[in-house]
């Protein structure tokens, strides 16, 4: 159900609109015969990434940073998940006496990005929560003591989402890439990965269909070179041993994702 508050700055639709009741054509278990896309249980979806301007059509002159360009940007795809991020900074911060720089993240879903319903233009509670999650996951990696009185802003928009936890992990990877593109000093890039618990088996990088039948999900943000976990989020039901197992496996998967991101960043320099 989505109720539209009259938003004077936008073109408004009808006051109330809902999704029709869709005849469920597939009640089949997405895990019936292995995974739907044929992946192994510990396999992450294929990653594609591009930093800098999205199009490659630029002359040598226009590739220089103009006043209207972001310091760094990245477009990240993982399977069907598509996330875009722009980083501004370091630029003047709000507190003029701050010894350390600050990192702010603004996360939102595009209205058409979620399969379960159209999202409202007004920022919902979960978007604000995820913004904070991303800040907590990425801030430890940034050398904030190198940027006193400055702030670094990241703006993330999810164009298409496929699995709530997986999309947040993708956002973490996207921001890491954009920060690297912006040349922000960091201890290490942060790689994110998620898992879902099906029965007693952890499955890596669940799609929305797979997540809907999972009893628990885990999200991990990890700095492989520093060997430090910056963020863990687990929600649902799992025993301490299962959670421990998830953290171990996720750490390994994050290392693999990190290698992919580094390869893309290196090739963007060539």
């Amino acid at each position: 159900m989505s109720t539209n508050v009259v938003d004077r700055r936008r073109v408004n639709g009808p006051a109330r609109s809902v999704e029709p009741v869709y005849a469920s054509t597939e009640t089949a278990d997405p895990f019936a015969e292995g995974r739907e896309d044929g992946r192994a249980l510990d396999q992450v979806r294929p990653i594609f990434m591009k930093t800098g301007p999205l199009s490659a059509q630029e002359s040598e002159l226009s590739s220089s940073a103009t006043a209207s360009a972001a310091s760094g940007s990245a477009f990240y795809e993982q399977g069907k998940i598509r996330v875009s991020c722009a980083v501004y900074g370091p630029r003047q911060g709000r507190k003029s006496n701050a010894r350390m720089g600050s990192f702010d993240c603004d996360f939102r879903y595009a209205p058409f990005s979620c399969s379960w319903k159209r999202r409202s233009h007004v920022k919902a509670a979960d978007e604000k929560e995820i913004s904070l999650m991303l800040e907590h996951a990425i801030a430890p990696a940034i050398r904030v003591e190198a940027y006193p009185k400055a702030c670094i802003d990241a703006f993330v928009t999810v164009i298409e989402s496929d699995g709530r936890a997986a999309t947040i992990a993708a956002a973490i990877n996207c921001i890491s890439a954009a920060l690297a593109d912006a040349g922000i000093e960091m201890y290490d890039s942060v790689a994110g990965c998620s898992m879902g618990l099906r029965g007693s088996q952890w499955v890596a990088d669940c799609t929305q269909a797979e997540e809907d039948v999972s009893s628990c999900s885990a999200l991990l943000a990890f700095m492989p070179s520093a060997d430090e976990i910056t963020y863990i989020l687990q929600h649902g039901k799992s025993t301490p041993e299962q959670t421990d197992q998830a953290v171990q496996t996720c750490t390994n998967l994050c290392t693999r994702v990190y290698a992919v991101i580094c390869r893309y960043l290196q090739s963007s320099l060539e």
Binding site: V11, A23, P53
Partner: protein, 280 residues
């Protein structure tokens, strides 16, 4: 190349970049006064345009459009709602343009700014009854209609909001598949079958072309961000499939005479031919 040459060419590029940043007007004038543009394009030359349909699987209709460095994604979500009492057989098409700091530093985070508001309104007026027949969105007269929310999200901004938005929305509407819906009068519930989708029959397709009067003197087609900053007037010409004029919108304080407008309409016709091929 000797070390000396590399150093010199590096210095030359740095000097050009600094000049562009510090004195943008003079920088553009150097090119425009010689009959060319800083990107090397001719005055009537539009940037290479690429249109891809069906890029977003979570939306009922979608498209991605790239005009040079301007990249935009349009997604249409279809929901069901009660029709307006005054128009019981008509559905809704709600268009919104989203310009955020993600695409350019021009735009502030938070509520839509001026450019976004104006663009959303204009798009709504253009597409409202012209392109989509509101009657085709009716499920059950007086009870249930489709409410299409079209959101045009800019991923990268390098000038020319309206052209990109109009092309993206046209392509997304062509891509749109509405599930077959049934209204149950007993329960008031609309049920739909995703496997049976129908394309909308559009009244016409819209082909836009934007021209800007840069520095009060030079009329250029498809201005990029640097040129747009110095434009004193902008003309948007929208044609339909038969080359008929749907909309001319001139904004800004600069003077544009009738001859220039006629030329714009002519050039828009040429642009339409190129766009029609891309939209296939």
């Amino acid at each position: 190349m000797s070390q000396g040459d590399v150093a010199k060419s590096g210095q030359v590029v740095f000097a050009i970049e600094a000049f562009k940043r510090i004195h943008p007007v003079e920088f553009q004038r150097r090119f425009l006064s010689q009959g060319t543009r800083h990107s090397g394009r001719g005055f009537s030359q539009f940037r290479a345009t690429h249109v891809t349909k069906g890029t977003i699987s979570t939306a009922q209709g979608s498209s991605t459009v790239r005009i040079g460095n301007t990249t935009v994604v349009c997604g249409i979500k279809a929901e069901v709602s009660e029709p307006d009492v005054k128009a019981p057989n008509e559905g809704y098409l709600v268009t919104n343009v989203d310009l955020s700091p993600m695409c350019s530093a021009h735009f502030r985070p938070g509520a839509p700014g001026e450019t976004a508001q104006v663009s959303s309104e204009h798009l709504h007026r253009l597409f409202g009854g012209n392109v989509v027949d509101p009657g085709s969105l009716c499920i059950e007269p007086g009870q249930a209609v489709w409410a299409l929310s079209a959101d045009i999200v800019f991923l990268k901004y390098d000038g020319n909001v309206l052209d990109a938005a109009v092309i993206a929305l046209t392509a997304a509407l062509e891509d749109l598949q509405l599930p077959k819906a049934e209204f149950d009068s007993a329960t008031g519930v609309v049920s739909a079958d995703k496997t049976m989708g129908q394309r909308l029959k559009l009244r016409k397709r819209l082909f836009p072309a934007t021209f800007s009067l840069v520095d009060g003197a030079y009329l250029v087609a498809d201005a990029d961000d640097a040129e747009e900053q110095l434009a004193t007037a902008t003309v948007l010409v929208v044609l339909d499939d038969n080359g008929r004029l749907v909309n001319i919108w001139k904004r800004g304080a600069g003077d544009i005479n009738r001859a220039t407008i006629s030329r714009c309409v002519e050039d828009a016709g040429t642009r339409k031919a190129a766009l029609a091929k891309e939209l296939e």
